[in-house]
Amino acid sequence: MNTDVLITAGIDVGSSAVKTAIVRHPPDSPPEAIALRTDRIRRRELRKVIDESNAAALEQAGLSRNDVAYVASTGEGELVDFRRGHFYGMTTHARGAVFLMPSVRAVLDVGALHARALRVDERSRVLAYRMTNQCASGSGQFLENVARYLGVTLDEVGPLSCQATDPQQVSSICAVLAETDVINMVSRGISTADILRGIHLSMAGRYVKLLQAVGAEGDVLITGGLAADEGLAGALRDRANAERLAITVRTHPQSIHAGALGAALWGGFRHDVLSKRARLSA
């Protein structure tokens, strides 16, 4: 492979998965992602998952470690000991989202423990943000737990939720105690689809508030682990309509990787800055 072109890597270490992106920066055309990976941690040793993810992504791109000029971490990136720089999660998600979909003016990043809403400008600068606090009510982990109780896999959650006919409200807000509600619903014979939709709607209710709080308008891209969950996107549209929030909820097949992509892209930017500096001082 031609390695004259700048190559950077972004590694997004989450609490449930490690995401890796390898990006190529041709001198006279926009950057392009040449490898994207998600590796779920599942109680494995984190450092190992990171190394494997990186190695697998390089393999996919047909590159070796030395071809990568700048490795940028994001998320809980302290364990990426081969990184050159670190960017914080919102910085990278904003960059990744605008890269994937240039019309995006707000980002909703839903991770395992937190959800964040960001308002961004066309250059992906974060103008305002809101995050959920230290209560996991409505988090990705919550959804994961519910799925476990319902005996469905995470990939099934979205499609099922979209089949709901009569969504059920979940009464308690606590992510843990709500499980009891879920179990009760199951025993009352309520369909899995309706339960999941109810959960999605209650999560979406929280997210709409976050989006409102940052003043989101126009295209909103969902990123993070739940980005691929159409059920959540649907519920978010419903809630946003109900609240008359003027947004268009968008999804993108690669938006799970927004953080990793953003890191790789910012890595490219820093690399240029640093090389320029080096040249100047030389």
Binding site: E76, G89, M90, T91, V126, M131, F269, V273
Partner: protein, 390 residues
């Protein structure tokens, strides 16, 4: 770190963790009939206590190590943390070294806490010190002077000796000295923040809650001399920020470290205002109590608890950001702190108008999880760094 700096830092750390007031007990034991008066964070004329030969002791909550067992008995979950740790300290006997307690008017929480103190400890001296919100010398000034007269008489009673003008004037001089040292420290830090890590600086100043003013002035001067000698402290590519909102419940030091690790240099803050209440020296000529009263009206620190008759809440913040050449403002307030949180929208509006970036988050003195704060502060400093070069 030079050995002498390490010693200063270690002492400051030890004092910051001295929630049982061992140092106050030691001070009392070192002389006959020594008494100590506790007070909550702001606006207390410590000079008056000093002039009565007593030790003013700043009570700034219980920090992040104190387990709250009985303090929660008195406060609902939606009330900030400082009153519960303060009550915990008192109920567990840790504040027994204090011979009295003063509650300045910071907010309704502290105000009501003064009443709780009366009910819980009926035989201890308690006073609510009502700071005027009217700054006309003939109106608010007169009232404040009358409040101080009462306080002077009470303190004299407790001390068993009158507080004469001479003693008071001498105390004012001692505190002018301390004010000077603290001002110098803040100025030095604003110039070269990397020489004075925020957590360290905070603890050095916090020592003033427990040490006598004379000793604390020396301590601060020593630190001011030693810290810049550390060769390992160097400037880094970070954003300069002003932090606002921490005037009452103090943040855990981990939070200050987190802000720095996330790429910020703190160039100004409103920590420990009780020790830095007056921004200028108090004149020594004339009636010392009048001077003190007057200083409180005209040169108190601007903070959420004090009324702004001109409605210029935001502009002083903008001015200080500009003066200190800061890149942005971090609003960092205790959860459920009404004064700080209600202040924010006004300050935000002014910053927005001036085009100054800002971000905000909440803490409690016993917050142990900094991941979210790191993320937010990091994104903030990222955006300042990346976009200033872009």
């Amino acid at each position: 770190m030079t050995p002498s700096l390490a010693a200063i830092v270690a002492r400051a750390e030890a004092l910051a963790q001295d929630v049982s007031l061992d140092s106050v007990r030691a001070w009392k034991a070192a002389g006959r009939q020594r008494r100590a008066i506790g007070h909550m964070p702001i606006a207390i004329p410590r000079e008056l206590i000093h002039a009565a030969g007593m030790l003013p002791v700043g009570i700034g909550g219980g920090g992040d190590r104190l387990e709250i067992i009985r303090g929660d008995a008195y406060f609902q979950s939606y009330i900030c943390h400082i009153p519960r740790s303060t009550i915990e300290l008192a109920l567990s006997g840790r504040l027994d070294a204090l011979d009295g307690m003063l509650f300045p008017s910071i907010c309704d929480v502290i105000r009501n806490l003064s009443g709780m103190w009366r009910l819980l400890f009926p035989d201890r001296y308690v006073r609510y010190v009502d700071v005027p919100q009217n700054f006309d010398p003939q109106v608010g000034g007169r009232f404040w002077r009358q409040e101080l007269d009462i306080l002077r008489a009470d303190l004299a009673d407790l001390a068993g000796r009158a507080i004469n003008d001479g003693a008071l004037r001498a105390s004012v001089a001692v505190y002018n000295e301390q004010r000077g040292a603290l001002r110098d420290l803040y100025e030095a830090r604003a110039r070269e923040p990397w020489r004075f890590p925020a957590a360290e600086l905070y603890q050095v100043i916090r020592a003033g809650n427990l040490l006598s003013a004379e000793e604390h002035s020396r301590f601060v001067r020593e630190y001011l001399r030693e810290a810049p000698l550390d060769p390992d402290r160097r400037d880094q590519d970070r954003s300069r920020v002003v932090v606002v909102g921490m005037f009452c419940e103090q943040p855990p030091v981990g939070l200050l470290m987190t802000l720095e690790r996330a790429g910020c240099w703190i160039v100004d803050d409103d920590l420990l205002l009780g020790l830095r209440w007056l921004t200028r020296d108090v004149p020594l000529e004339g009636d010392p109590l009048d001077n003190l009263a007057q200083a409180c009206l005209t040169s108190h620190v601007r903070t959420a608890s004090m009324y702004e008759p001109e409605g210029r809440r935001g502009s002083w913040l903008v001015e200080s950001v500009r003066r200190l050449n800061a890149d942005g403002v971090i609003f960092c307030a205790p959860s459920f702190c009404d004064p700080a949180l209600l202040d924010q929208p006004m300050l935000v509006a002014a910053l927005d108008a001036a085009g100054i970036p800002h971000t905000q988050f909440k803490y409690s003195e016993d917050t142990g999880q900094f991941a979210v704060i790191r993320e937010q502060a990091g994104t903030f400093s990222d955006s300042i760094r990346l976009w200033s070069q872009a």
